[in-house]
């Protein structure tokens, strides 16, 4: 039985559940508290000692990540004493830190930098020249690079492989100021969620081989989206940037917390799926290997519609947005075409696991089912209009709406991929989520909705 009690933090009263962690309340109420080791997914470890607060009746400052909410508790998170404690501990954290921010990929999103701006900013007392030297470039595997000197030994990464993936690849070896993160000799970091340790790492010790040195984080714009790698619907941030004279490019996907869907993490395959999105993008309208203009294409489209009047099949990709699927259904009704979206093609049992990965790799298949669209493979038809479905189907003539290049297709109409437009998808658990448009390409292509409007007029 949970019991709500009143707690006073910095003279303000809050309601909190008795017995829960104080740091959770501070984080929830956005009360500034520095911490490295605590993480809501990994629990308290109490090693960084940064989240010190003063509690009425306690002689010494206490760490908020190991303090449980009690009725009438009085907490001070600011004040001279507490700031001094945080400053002193931060100073110790920095004593063996290489301070190589100019070449560190974490710069700009580094807790150590942030806390230094909050609690540091003093003249260095460090008068000993020799810092502890460690390895600067360790390839841990799974795209993760380790810089042991930058590490603050918060043990988030080791706790992740112990508690979350249960794979135990990472550990801390050595004692005292020579302690460092490492794998077992000859072993690699190797699990399908490994790259989450990069996000977990509060400093620049663990960086992504895929992202590092490609972009400074302060140049990136961030958009909320949903991964389309499978039907799980993991929430992500899309970090992209359009550099001067260049195209808008995605630099990385990062997990976005959603306790109802993916929690804190995403799988590596989903994380790296942004690459395929940007490669071989279909940008031109092609008819029989010739690039044609839009007017010409619409005319050809209508000619085909008239020719095959009663013998038309429309195939829908189960990754399209719900708005798009509904619009295609309406359009199909208007032209009297039969509609289907074969789902079996997307299934990949090998991909499935018991964490986040779903065997059904069509992000919006639930909508196909909800709208009662035929999921069988269509019989051979006269004209087949394929809205980006990956399957191959028999027909006399085909019109292919494609996000990506397709050498087999004769008549291709380019459509925008999900990162170039906005819309909703429904995941396998029936949760409907919004994906926001991330990219504004130099050479934009119409969305499905725009195409449908064009061919109607």
């Amino acid at each position: 039985m949970s019991e709500t009690v009143e707690v006073i933090v910095d003279k303000r009263t809050f309601n909190a559940e008795k017995g829960t962690l104080l740091i959770d309340l501070l984080i929830k109420e956005k009360i500034k508290v520095p911490y490295f080791c605590y993480h809501e997914a990994l629990g308290a470890d109490g090693n960084c000692r940064m989240c010190m607060v003063e509690i009425e009746g306690q002689k010494r400052p206490q760490i908020a990540c190991d303090t449980f909410i009690k009725e009438g508790m009085e907490v001070r998170s600011t004040g001279e004493n507490i700031e001094k404690v945080r400053t002193d501990i931060l100073e110790l954290e920095l004593i063996n830190h290489p301070v190589d921010c100019p070449t560190c990929d974490q710069a700009g999103e580094c807790s150590l930098q942030d806390f230094y701006m909050d609690y540091g900013l003093h003249n260095s007392k460090i008068s000993i020249p020799e810092k502890v030297k460690n390895l600067k470039k360790v390839d841990l595997g799974s795209n993760v690079m380790l810089d042991q000197e930058r590490c603050v030994l918060c043990a988030r990464c080791t706790r992740f492989t112990d508690k979350i993936t249960d794979t135990h690849e990472l550990g801390i070896i050595g004692r005292g100021d020579h302690a460092r993160v490492s794998t077992m000799p000859g072993r690699k970091l190797d699990n399908p969620y490994a790259m989450n340790v990069v996000d977990l790492c509060p400093v620049g010790a663990l960086t992504s081989k895929d992202f590092r040195f490609h972009q400074r984080v302060w140049f990136l714009s961030t958009v909320d989206s949903i991964c389309h790698g499978c039907a799980k619907g993991c929430n992500i941030y899309i970090d992209h940037n359009k550099m001067k004279y260049q195209d808008d490019i995605i630099y990385r996907f990062r997990p976005r917390r959603n306790d109802d869907v993916n929690g804190f993490f995403i799988c590596d395959e989903g994380r790296l799926s942004y690459k395929a999105l940007q490669e071989d993008r279909q940008e031109e309208i092609v008819l029989n290997s010739k690039v044609i203009m839009e007017d010409e294409a619409i005319q050809a489209f209508h000619t085909l519609l008239e020719k095959y009047e009663t013998n038309i099949t429309v195939v829908i990709d189960a990754n399209l947005y719900t708005e798009e699927i509904e619009a295609i259904l309406d359009f199909s009704k208007e032209i009297g075409a039969s509609v289907c979206s074969p789902l079996e093609i997307y299934r990949d049992e090998d991909f499935k696991d018991d964490m986040l990965k779903s065997a059904q790799r069509a992000a919006n298949y639930k909508t196909i089912e909800n709208l009662h669209i035929d999921t069988d493979i269509p019989a051979k038809s006269g004209l087949l209009i394929n809205f980006n479905h990956p399957g191959e189907f028999e027909a006399e003539v085909k019109i292919d709406f494609r996000t990506h290049q397709d050498t087999k297709a004769a008549f291709i109409l380019p459509i925008a991929s999900y990162v170039e437009s906005s819309g909703h998808i429904t995941n396998e658990d029936g949760i409907t989520q919004l994906c926001q448009k991330a990219l504004s390409k130099n050479n934009p292509v119409p969305t499905v909705l725009e195409w449908l409007e064009k061919v109607r007029s």
Binding site: V85, D88, L92, I95, K125, D177
Partner: protein, 406 residues
């Protein structure tokens, strides 16, 4: 000075480590007596005797035993702490090498009281030869059928100082890195793989047979009111006859040093003394003069009795070098879990090194005190606060030497 041999009674006998000699001299006699008592009776006797933990903390043992569940669907365990890594301390090894059967007897009584069927002895890896003696005693006990009700297993540590901290000891026994655990907010036993576990020092357990055999009052006849009984005090350093000698609490420190240790080596004068392993604050000669060996007296002057392993330093000792020696040890042994300790121990070690190299400045001395303050009371275990105590006590008492070394 009153002779009092509770734990060290059989130490001088020839082949005292064998079951034969032990039994011939009253070993395992209390096992018969156990039948008269219920487990809770035993705990009451230990509480009545006010037996205090002899591993350094001096916390009442009975209260700790009481935390163990008498009824539980989980198995209970006893873990005997024989990590003995505190510099200046070498008493437990006397027990396991000279009278291991006393320890086994104590374990059997304790396990009976806390209803444990399995006891582990966590022994530091460096004690290989002592472990051999202990193991052969355990083997003898098994053969004699003494261990039918309770198993005893020796677990060798890999040489980390911090594994003497009870929760780090259990982490190590579970096969993990020896990192101290976060302290529970309420009184509860320790946990070994999630099972209730009692952790006690070797000497504490070895004292149990005497108390059960002779009663609480017999034990309380020794020592002071608040620190009853005896302790295997030890001496090392600049002393004529260093070693382990059992004495009752409340004994005068100088008398002990002169009586058993034969005074300061080569007739020199005492300069400084660390009372109970290096984790306790350093004392100067004047403070030691009228000091008695009990928990209260030492706490009263801002130090602690610790394990009772005294390190004696004569007038020729350089206190900066002594501090450097201690800090090197801490620098090496910090487990590296909490930031203040991990980074602080290295920093203070290097700073004192700098002062020793004549590269230091007056600011460095104040800086040392500042870092000591940061390390105090902000970590999971008491390692860093101990380092802090050592630095502060040393600089406070011998500041002129530090300034002279600049």
């Amino acid at each position: 000075m009153r002779e009092c041999k509770i734990v060290s009674r059989k130490f001088e006998l020839e082949n005292s480590f064998t079951l034969e000699v032990s039994k011939a001299n009253g070993g395992y006699k209390t096992l018969e007596k156990l039948k008269e008592y219920s487990p809770t009776d035993i705990i009451q006797i230990i509480k009545d005797a006010n037996l205090r933990g002899k591993g350094g903390g001096g916390a009442p043992a009975g209260a700790k035993w009481e935390l163990m569940p008498q009824k539980s669907d989980k198995p209970s365990f006893l873990a005997v702490n024989c990590d003995e890594s505190e510099p200046g301390t070498f008493k437990d090894r006397q027990i396991i090498s000279k009278d291991p059967h006393l320890l086994i007897e104590g374990i059997l009584i304790t396990c009976y009281a806390i209803k444990a069927k399995h006891a582990y002895i966590y022994i530091r890896g460096e004690y290989y030869q002592y472990q051999q003696v202990l193991q052969s005693a355990i083997d003898e006990a098994y053969e004699a059928g003494l261990l039918d009700a309770c198993d005893i297993t020796i677990h060798r540590g890999a040489g980390a100082y911090i594994c003497g901290e009870k929760s780090a000891l259990l982490e190590s026994m579970e096969g993990k890195r020896g990192h101290p655990r976060l302290k529970p907010k309420q009184k509860e036993p320790e946990w070994y793989f999630g099972n209730p576990t009692l952790v006690n020092n070797v000497e504490t357990i070895a004292t149990v047979p005497f108390i059960v055999e002779n009663g609480a009052d017999a034990y309380k006849a020794y020592g002071t009111e608040q620190s009853p009984g005896t302790l295997l005090f030890a001496m090392s350093g600049h002393i004529e006859r260093p070693g382990v000698y059992e004495a009752e609490f409340g004994t005068s420190m100088m008398e002990y040093i002169n009586h058993y240790g034969g005074g300061i080596k080569n007739g020199k004068k005492l300069k400084a003394l660390i009372p109970g392993g290096v984790s306790c604050g350093v004392l100067n000669a004047r403070e030691v003069e009228n000091l008695t060996l009990d928990y209260e007296a030492l706490r009263g002057i801002g130090s602690s009795l610790g394990t009772g392993g005294m390190i004696v330093m004569d007038e020729d000792t350089c206190m900066v070098t002594a501090l450097k020696n201690i800090l090197e040890f801490y620098h090496e042994e910090s487990c590296g879990q909490c930031t203040p300790c991990r980074e602080g121990t290295g920093w203070v070690d290097k700073l004192v090194g700098k002062i020793l190299d004549k590269r230091g400045s007056k600011e460095d001395i104040d800086k040392l005190l500042g870092i000591a303050d940061t390390m105090n009371g902000k970590t999971i275990c008491v390692f860093a606060p101990s380092v802090s105590t050592v630095i502060v006590s040393c600089i406070e008492r011998f500041r002129d030497e530090f300034e002279g070394a600049l």
